[in-house]
Symmetry: C2
């Protein structure tokens, strides 16, 4: 079966939004995001939308079971911090319970905060002390967090399902239009390729007659196409590609750029993603479109640059610091500042 036939059976973005219901909190979420964006515009700030974490696909209307591709959200939460440090305002749109900027340093499983507090009951009333070994890092994280809160440059949005994600992404990208080229999209969330349309949910309910569970799902629409062509025409769009075969990274990134016409694909190899990524972009920043996505793009029309860090010589360095620095530089070019 050819790709075209696959396309014909997949939901287009248009048919998706025409048939799938918006999340209940959408209007309120969008109103709060709009208010945040207006404030950033009035202060002349650049805004980056960071998406983070995985998405769920409910199998039942009263959600008990769901398909998931959980991601801890490390890349998104870490990058958000570096964007804030670089002076960006951040809309952090993340999967419920995935990591968040600042608090990510104290995850309950790897670095629980109760472990670095002590009770000093030599005084009355008893005092709470921070253990000496933790003091330096906590002061640093806490000070940054308080600065960001005071400046009002971080706005958080939460999604759970892939449907929440799609509706929110569309609505927020439309709200970012007034920023023009000052908006960046950093699409680090791991989004499900498949979903169960609301209309099929009763059909697809657990069929336990044979003692087994049957599920059949549809493809999620390719959202980068309308994002680039309709929802935002000037925003700087960064998508991610995660592969387990490193040799596929660059060719697949080129194909995505040729298909969707956005600015950068950051390629990650699953096992090396914390130490190495590749930036792939069209030469001269001009998209090389092949909307059918059939032809193998001409490599000479694309540029690659690799970012590496060496955990042996600098174990605390986070590659997101270098990723964000490079994007900030490229975004300045995009906005015409340099």
């Amino acid at each position: 079966m050819s790709n075209e036939e696959v396309q014909s059976e997949a939901f287009s973005a248009e048919s998706y939004f025409a048939t799938q219901p918006p999340p209940a909190s959408l209007e309120e979420d969008v109103a709060r995001a709009r208010e945040f964006i207006q404030k950033q515009i009035s202060q002349g700030r650049k805004v980056v939308l960071v998406t983070s974490g995985g998405t769920t696909v409910p199998l039942e209307l009263n959600v008990v079971r769901f398909l998931d591709n959980f991601s801890a959200g490390t890349r998104g939460a870490t990058s958000a911090e570096y964007f804030l440090k670089a002076g960006y305002s951040v809309i952090f749109m993340h999967r419920q319970f995935s990591l968040q900027p600042f608090s990510r340093h104290y995850s309950h499983s790897t670095h629980p905060f109760l472990d670095f507090l002590d009770v000093d009951d030599s005084e009355e009333p008893a005092q709470i002390d921070v253990k000496a070994a933790e003091h330096t890092q906590l002061i640093e994280v806490l000070s940054q967090y308080k600065r960001v809160q005071k400046a009002g440059t971080l706005h958080t949005l939460t999604f759970v399902t892939v449907n929440d994600y799609l509706w929110l992404l569309r609505a927020v990208s439309q709200e970012l239009v007034p920023l023009g080229r000052l908006a960046m999209f950093y699409l680090a969330a791991a989004v499900s390729d498949f979903f169960l349309p609301r209309q099929k949910m009763s059909e697809h309910k657990i069929q336990s007659g044979k003692g087994s569970l049957h599920i059949e799902m549809d493809q999620v629409p390719k959202i980068l196409k309308p994002l680039v062509n309709e929802w935002t025409r000037e925003g700087y769009i960064v998508s991610f590609k995660l592969e387990t075969d490193e040799t596929l990274l660059v060719p697949k990134a080129r194909k995505a750029l040729a298909r969707y016409g956005h600015q950068v694909v950051i390629g990650n190899d699953l096992h090396r993603r914390k130490f190495e990524v590749v930036f792939v972009s069209p030469k001269g920043g001009r998209p090389v479109l092949d909307e059918n996505g059939e032809a193998e793009p001409d490599p000479s029309q694309f540029a690659e640059s690799w970012v590496h860090i060496d955990p042996a010589t600098n174990p605390t360095r986070e590659i997101e610091e270098d990723i964000v620095a490079e994007l900030v530089r490229r975004h300045r070019v995009w906005t015409g500042e340099s």
Copy 2:
């Protein structure tokens, strides 16, 4: 299709463990649990195994997608704290990233701990202060946590998949045998009914030819049967039943008791589970067995007792405090202390 035919197509516990691979960390986890249990025995403590959170069902060998029935783990984490307060040692076997005793009070999404710390930079070096409004609760939680750490009465085990859960439950229950009647099983985890056998994983891989995803799963074996009959013969076993139709709670609980022969089913209605539960148990503590699970059990052979709390008059009370108090009382009867 009758229930018998369903049974014949389902995995028995025996065939499950004969064909599904143990998790890589099982031996090490069991060795550490054994050490913990030995210490509790030497100190004459009762031990409760609390299971908590949901389980995942991987769809691929290199796990990207999985079926999930995520539970935040509130019941298990809260109950574990009350068991510790009641003098029990607790093996807290929980889904990775679900709530844990003590740190549950400071979840990143609802009560992030960075929000109740302040930086006081009037001093040099800067100090970290706990906000006055948070001080009382934090001192209390922290003091309990430190006491439990010092006493060494809490041992944590982590699972992710339903396979991890099943192997761990079997192994730990066997390690608890030396405790005899001093062991309690508080099975609060939400365990998947379905799984994808390892042997079928390649067959079941994503079939995207038609632009859709097909999955077919098998039933997870009913684990209470071997738990009661083989793995532990004296432990006091508490299982949970969650329903959306309250009228089904008691009949379904009776049926589970008649089928598996354990001591208590705690029935929860999904919408009222934080304020109301029902304890269902065989009268006189004697099981009323119907291993085929076909007949409707005779109601006169079972006793029910309801536990309610009123959030209007006491908004901070947790129903787990009453659940645990009732179980502690019943467990004393079981061990012959009263």
